[in-house]
């Protein structure tokens, strides 16, 4: 995956947009989830106070994260958990592999973990001859199709039941043409139950880790993390270091926000607190940096580390809904992914902060109050300044900056723009104009606002005005 050529977001989105019906369906499906989030949030009188509280807890975490990590490690070790530290994706994958090798095990069952997606763990282990089966139904579906997930909470949201039926027919031998979700889920249940019963190693993600107690929490609706972990001899849990909360009592705040923001559910079906391995079991935690400490040092972007991966910003994003998760070529798609990705690699991901209307809807739904659209705007400035954007965009942005900074040029540019659009529309409404690609150009007003204002504000005109 990492060596493949990356298709820029706008190009991938253009492809996705070719199937109009599917795009509309994708858009509506995600909006439906967003609407459920709203309904659920409005039922909680304390909602805004909860968001504010969560945001403050995360501020405290970010400013004390060094000490909390030390505290967490000591407590986890006291609980009998083996703690590892990974500076980057490579080291994370090596650690996981070394645990597998130590036990001489060639098969693993995994529950959903975006961190392992970020690190491309499956590919790495496949090369070492280790078979990984993703057990979250959505992940399982996309894994069979050899695709990455397109959404952090709803990995197969881009697929229709016909697609799933085809995939299962091919891999599980289900009835051809049977699109019934109940039937399809039942088939996966049977197949995966056998997996759970035969795997010696289970890997899970971590939703929250508690410094005070050294425990970690994994949230699922299917119970797949629990089926895996409670049946396996070895449980490996992988976490980005930002998953920490200071005290156990803070979990109450985040568990109230997470599922409501994600899918509109009052809480996920299972919120499992792992504190000690069960008798005879071995439990590992891998604490991963992979660029997070760098992001912590970028003042404008450090707030992105507060993210609890609920997916609300994606469900509400008008660009995500119409371009699909795969167009973001990053483990985390959508608005928050577009902030996290350039931190990992600016040159590969310079297109992503531009995949936004900056409408601010993401910021409004974020349960931990990350200033998402402001950060996307800031990334654009950084990327243009550092020359990471395509030349056309850089030239356009630089010209725009010049025009906006100089009133005389702005005036002339406006006048000539209106003249051109009115008299030679072909010069604007053509393929060369990227803006026209997806849009109708507006009718041209007779005069600019400036001209109108000049004419109509005679009486109240003050000296400063011109």
């Amino acid at each position: 995956m990492s060596s493949e050529k990356i298709i820029p977001h706008s190009e991938a989105a253009t492809k996705f947009n070719k199937d109009v019906e599917r795009v509309n369906w994708h858009d509506e499906t995600l909006w439906f989830v967003r609407a459920k989030r709203d309904k659920s949030a409005h039922q909680i009188a304390d909602w805004e106070l909860l968001r504010e509280t969560a945001s403050k807890i995360k501020n405290n975490v970010l400013s004390n994260i060094h000490d909390y990590l030390v505290e967490f490690e000591a407590n986890a070790q006291r609980n009998g958990i083996i703690v590892h530290w990974a500076a980057d994706a490579k080291e994370h994958n090596e650690i996981v592999h070394s645990i597998m090798a130590k036990h001489d095990v060639k098969q693993m069952v995994k529950s959903k973990s975006m961190l392992t997606e970020e690190c491309h763990l499956n590919d790495y282990l496949a090369e070492k001859g280790i078979e990984v089966i993703d057990s979250d139904l959505g992940e399982y579906i996309v894994q069979l199709r050899k695709e990455p997930p397109s959404h952090i909470v709803l990995p197969a949201i881009h697929l229709k039941k016909e697609d799933v039926s085809e995939t299962f027919h091919e891999h599980l031998g289900t009835e051809k043409g049977n699109f019934n979700p109940q039937y399809l889920t039942e088939s996966a249940r049977h197949s995966l139950r056998n997996t759970f019963l035969t795997r010696k190693v289970a890997l899970t993600g971590v939703n929250f880790a508690v410094a005070e107690t050294g425990e970690f929490v994994v949230c699922t609706n299917e119970g797949n993390a629990d089926m895996g972990a409670h049946l396996a001899d070895v449980h490996i849990a992988c976490m980005g270091f930002e998953k920490l909360v200071p005290k156990r009592e803070h979990l109450g705040v985040f568990l109230r926000l997470l599922a409501r923001s994600a899918t509109g559910q009052p809480i996920t079906t299972f919120s499992s607190h792992f504190k000690k391995p069960r008798d005879g079991q071995e439990m590992h935690i891998v604490i991963v940096d992979n660029g997070r400490s760098k992001q912590l040092g970028r003042e404008d972007f450090r707030n992105s580390l507060k993210c609890i991966r609920c997916g609300a910003c994606m469900n509400t994003c008008p660009v995500y809904r119409r371009s699909g998760g795969h167009s973001y070529h990053n483990a985390v798609a959508g608005p928050i992914g577009s902030i996290l990705a350039p931190n990992l690699d600016m040159s590969k991901n310079a297109d992503l902060p531009f995949a936004s209307t900056l409408c601010g809807s993401c910021t409004n739904v974020c349960p931990v109050k990350i200033d998402i659209h402001d950060q996307l705007y800031k990334w654009r400035q950084v990327l243009v300044k550092d020359g990471y954007t395509p030349t056309a965009k850089t030239v356009a942005m630089k010209t725009m900056a010049k025009v906006l900074a100089n009133p005389t040029i702005f005036n002339i540019a406006g006048k000539s723009g209106r003249f051109v659009m009115k008299n030679i529309p072909g010069m604007v409404n053509n393929k060369m104009n990227k803006w026209y690609d997806q849009r109708e150009m507006p009718d041209v007003p007779e005069e600019s606002f400036r001209e109108w204002y000049k004419k109509n504000s005679r009486e109240s005109k003050s000296k400063d005005n011109e």
Partner: protein, 195 residues
């Protein structure tokens, strides 16, 4: 330098100087509502079945008339020994794969999301509530708390190796957002609300 030292160093260098205080949690969780009614409504909303009972006899009768007693029923509650076995707590967890119904009790429930708090001292085995085809949980009505705020106050610094909030049966909506009960865990959840 080891990765641990390297990561911690970088974090120390990059974390904000301004230490933000932790917020006051006591402002939360003051919502007023009918706790038992809310619990039942929310549970139904997420696919679980609340059943109000006066005593364990009623539970036994309910299970007798709703589940096939020929199949494997397990429990941690001695009061239910008539219908379910008690001697499975030290067996290999994999051998629980043919369990039809697991009956356990919860420490308490939470009205706002119908979750029930269980820990491994009352679970018998950690996998027991997940591996069974069906799950039933007994909770006392007086132990239903309003919100997660009260729930974590109640948990306090309780000691456990494993604890989980269970809210409804296992479910998925990963195929075109249509809700299907019984993904990997229990296909149904009965909550016996005991007087």
């Amino acid at each position: 330098m080891s990765s641990k030292a390297e990561i911690l160093n970088r974090i120390k260098l990059n974390q904000p100087d301004l230490v933000a205080d932790l917020p006051d949690l006591s402002l939360l969780g003051s919502e007023q509502f009918d706790v038992l009614e809310t619990y039942k409504t929310v549970l139904k909303g997420i696919g679980g079945d609340p059943v109000e009972v006066a005593d364990y006899n009623e539970i036994i009768n309910y299970i007798k008339s709703n589940y096939n007693l020929e199949k494997r029923l397990i429990t941690t509650l001695p009061e239910l020994s008539e219908i379910a076995s008690l001697d499975w707590k030290t067996v290999d967890p994999h051998s629980l794969q043919n369990v039809e119904l697991t009956v356990i009790k919860a420490h308490f429930g939470v009205a706002e999301n119908s979750a029930l708090w269980v820990t491994d001292d009352i679970l018998g085995q950690r996998v027991a509530p997940f591996i069974a085809q069906y799950l039933a949980i007994v909770v006392q009505k007086k132990d239903i708390l309003p919100t997660m705020q009260q729930a974590y106050n109640r948990i306090g610094n309780m000691e456990y190796g494993f604890g989980t909030f269970i809210a409804g049966p296992s479910k998925t909506a990963d195929i075109e957002q249509s809700l299907v009960l019984g993904a990997h865990g229990a296909r149904g959840l009965i909550v016996f609300l005991l007087d």
